[in-house]
């Protein structure tokens, strides 16, 4: 490969179009057209239509779980979950997670209690939960991060011993396996995201999984389900329905799952091979799983070794049209609604603080091929080698 001159230093951007992070797999136009034509012929647009029913049945089989309830997005799914589980008071969740995990609790009148995470896996640090428990804590929301898992078996026995409800935000974990068993049936329920950036896409969407028949009936009523079983009493309902258009996209995406997972795995390996020799860059491998969807490519940047800060590296990549992201940033505990809520929060979450300052998310998914991975890694390598030069550039121009 011809050596690339960094765009920030006067070269041409490596990519003609901005390369996004996020999976963004989508069916071909022909498949899209055929699926939409089918909906137009049936003239059934929403309210638990035939495609949503089909999707729920196929997901039940794929995930080996008794009940799947499809929803319009995972955040509303998590809100429905807290509502159906009858949680109150406080719920413990990891602090290194997307803000929606905490917001779903706030919307149901529950105070989130943030627990720090393990520095190598980025998953919740179970050893730190006990110190956070008081008589107001009614549950734990586990979060399965980065195509890995938060040791659901250990969390199950931990929650059982303390008589706490346990459920999972598995937005990142569709198709992943723990001890060769699909993530979906751990705890009381699990919530997946089918947002376009996830391996299974419904453009927007998600689903709740449970083996508990009563909980499933409650969730269906809270979602509003039009004929899917007899409604059971709930405190309040919502609109969490998935449309036929969303279900059509998800069904095609489910067909493509094996192929897309393979492509992700191949790209992940390529990144791994290329990044392992760059000082100061640590690729985060999916933890605690026997099978991963590899839907995220996350690295930690050690500024002292790499020579440049994480934010400087992002600035260089953006100039090359690589939309690398700080993720999660600024961290839930520093976001609107939470940052002033608990005294001493930041001191209590040193690992999360450090990860929020050092993690970078790189492109993996539909828009990326092996050559783009090579190019991205070459840019990162060049950054490390030209750290001194770039540092003076940033000193002069800012990030």
């Amino acid at each position: 490969m011809k050596s690339h001159r960094l765009a920030l230093l006067g070269g041409t951007a490596a990519f003609a179009k901005m390369l996004p992070v996020g999976q963004l797999y989508f069916p071909s136009w022909d498949r899209y057209e055929a699926a939409m034509r089918g909906i137009f012929e049936r003239r059934y647009y929403t309210n638990q239509g035939p495609l949503v029913q089909q999707l729920e049945a196929r997901l039940q089989e794929f995930l080996d779980v008794k009940h799947v309830i499809c929803v319009t997005n995972a955040t509303i799914g998590l809100m429905m979950a807290a509502e159906a589980l009858g949680l109150s008071g406080k719920v413990v969740l990891p602090s290194f997670t997307f803000i929606a995990s905490a917001q779903s609790l706030s919307w149901t009148g529950i105070e989130p209690v943030f627990c720090d995470v393990n520095p190598s896996t980025h998953q919740i640090d179970i050893d730190k939960i006990d110190a956070l428990l008081d008589d107001q804590v009614t549950g734990i929301m586990g979060v399965n991060l980065w195509g890995g898992a938060s040791d659901p078996l250990a969390l199950e026995s931990f929650a059982y011993d303390r008589d706490l409800k346990l459920y999972f935000d598995s937005a990142h974990a569709f198709g992943c396996e723990v001890n060769h068993k699909k993530i979906a049936g751990f705890g009381s329920l699990e919530v997946f995201s089918f947002h376009a950036t996830k391996i299974l896409s419904a453009t927007e969407g998600g689903c709740l999984c449970t083996n508990d028949v009563m909980l499933a009936a409650k969730l269906r009523n809270i979602r509003s389900s039009y004929g899917a079983g007899r409604p059971v009493p709930v405190v309040k309902t919502s609109n969490g329905r998935m449309s036929e258009a969303q279900a059509a996209i998800a069904l095609m995406s489910l067909d493509d799952f094996p192929e897309n997972q393979k492509k992700n795995a191949m790209l992940f390996c390529k990144y791994e091979e290329r990044l392992k020799n760059i000082p100061g860059i640590k690729l985060v491998k999916p933890a605690g799983v026997t099978f991963s969807n590899y839907q995220y490519l996350v690295c930690e940047v050690d500024e002292n070794i790499f020579g440049l800060s994480r934010d400087s590296l992002i600035a260089v990549l953006k100039a090359e049209n690589v939309n690398a992201r700080r993720y999660f940033y600024p961290g839930v505990h520093r976001s609107a609604g939470y940052k002033n809520s608990i005294r001493g929060l930041i001191d209590d979450l040193p690992v999360t603080e450090s990860l929020c300052a050092s993690c970078i998310q790189l492109p993996i998914g539909a828009m990326v091929d092996c050559d783009s991975v090579d190019m991205i890694c070459e840019i990162i390598d060049k950054c490390q080698r030209s750290a001194g030069l770039l540092k003076s550039f940033f000193a002069e121009h800012g990030e």
């Binding site: 809100m79 803000i99 405190v235 309902t237 036929e244 258009a245 609107a336």
Partner: protein
């Protein structure tokens, strides 16, 4: 010869001669396909695909997509407001707008009881207590007076909901809100196309909320939107529907969630918006058929649209008068069995339902009375004038055989 055989309906195509021919009593269904009260507007498929191509080319399926932006611009223009913010549903659009507009440290929201069955749940998600107001018996709508009766020192917000046919007292409620210093949010889900003397629905109060559910005038699969002239509110809602973010990594407003509309739903709504005038023309034709036919059915009164200004002619609501031979719920059951998916009009009213959250208990005699008397008849893109002719024949049959049907239904229940 039994009485019922003598009373044959004198229309050749009508297939029911005897009371036992009714589907609820063992006969075959009058319609092979269900005839619902949903609009189910379907645009030209090519038009829908052409919109779809735009997001497809950009491989951008959600999050501030090209079509959501177009749709918001078009709808702001349609209603004549500065801003429109689209949501994944009217439900969450209402929740976020109520939460944004409610006066701080006040606990109650005034809303009608004779309305959408999830309206009190919507209030509960915002942790506001519903204070149910009475409606006017002539218009079925809340009025300045009925709202005023519910205002107290705890009132945080007025949610002014338009009834299914025609509008509530817009000017009266807006001026009341101004006088009492209480924000007014219109729920205009059933009034997308309506105009009143003061202007087009969409421009009134602090904001107005609409639905793009498939059953509504503007079908976007699922979806909703809010119109407003308040720049701060529009910015706030745009941020709240995306977790409170304003740009990358910048979460600035607490209380957000995901209420984004996706691009396929926006494509559907845009294509249907292009064809809205034709849908209204078709609705008018359907309404005229009902108008002409129902005149000849004793005991039923069609709720008429106010035609002095623009209206969508979408919903067909009838009152079952004192001389109608069956109870309203019996009538609905008889019709449903025939695949005529008539529905009770907002029944039971909200204040009569069990609520697991805080509310202000209410005694609403007018609402209770009205909630027993009205029903919706099939309408929308699926229903032809021919279908309407048949529905009217069916209603005539029910009316003329009412006593016998009632007896058979009672016998069946007893068994």
């Amino acid at each position: 010869m039994p009485l019922s055989q003598k009373k044959m309906v004198n229309v050749a195509v009508f297939s029911k001669n005897l009371v036992r021919d009714l589907a609820c009593l063992g006969g075959s269904r009058f319609f092979a396909e269900p005839k619902s009260t949903s609009s189910l507007g379907q645009p030209n498929f090519g038009r829908f695909l052409r919109y779809s191509e735009q997001f497809f080319k950009q491989q951008h399926y959600t999050n501030n997509g090209v079509l959501v932006n177009q749709l918001e611009e078009r709808l702001a223009e349609f209603h004549g407001t500065h801003f429109c913010v689209a949501f994944c549903s009217g439900f969450w659009g209402l929740v976020l707008t109520m939460a944004s507009l409610a006066l701080k440290r006040k606990s109650e929201v005034v809303m009608p009881s004779l309305t959408y069955r999830r309206m009190a749940d919507i209030a509960a998600w915002t942790r506001l207590k519903p204070n149910f107001c009475e409606v006017d018996s002539g218009t079925l709508a809340m009025s300045r007076q009925t709202v005023n009766d519910c205002i107290n020192s705890e009132t945080a917000l007025i949610v002014a909901v338009h009834p299914i046919v025609n509008c509530c007292d817009i000017e009266g409620i807006v001026s009341l809100g101004k006088e009492r210093g209480i924000p007014v949010l219109f729920d205009s889900v059933e009034s997308v196309y309506e105009t009143v003397s003061a202007g087009k629905v969409g421009i009134f109060g602090d904001a107005e909320c609409f639905s793009m559910h498939a059953s509504k005038l503007l079908n976007g699969f699922e979806g909703g939107y809010v119109t407003t002239n308040n720049v701060e509110l529009a910015r706030r809602l745009t941020s709240l529907r995306t977790y409170g973010f304003e740009g990358q990594d910048n979460c600035v407003i607490p209380g957000g969630l995901n209420a984004k509309l996706n691009e396929i739903h926006a494509a559907m709504a845009l294509a249907n918006l292009d064809e809205l005038e034709q849908l209204v023309i078709d609705n008018c034709r359907r309404y005229r058929s009902y108008q002409a036919g129902l005149v000849n059915v004793p005991g039923i009164r069609l709720l008429e649209f106010n035609e002095t200004t623009k209206t969508s002619f979408k919903n067909i609501v009838v009152e079952l008068l004192d001389d109608w031979p069956l109870m309203r719920d019996e009538t609905v059951a008889v019709l449903n069995a025939e695949n005529v998916l008539a529905r009770a009009y907002y029944s039971p009213p909200l204040h009569q339902k069990k609520m697991g959250y805080s509310y202000v208990p209410a005694t609403l005699e007018v609402t209770d009375y009205l909630a027993q008397r009205f029903m919706l008849l099939p309408c929308g893109d699926f229903v032809t004038c021919d279908d309407i002719g048949k529905i009217i024949q069916l209603l005539k049959f029910i009316q003329s055989h009412g006593a016998e049907i009632a007896r058979c239904l009672t016998e069946m229940k007893a068994k």
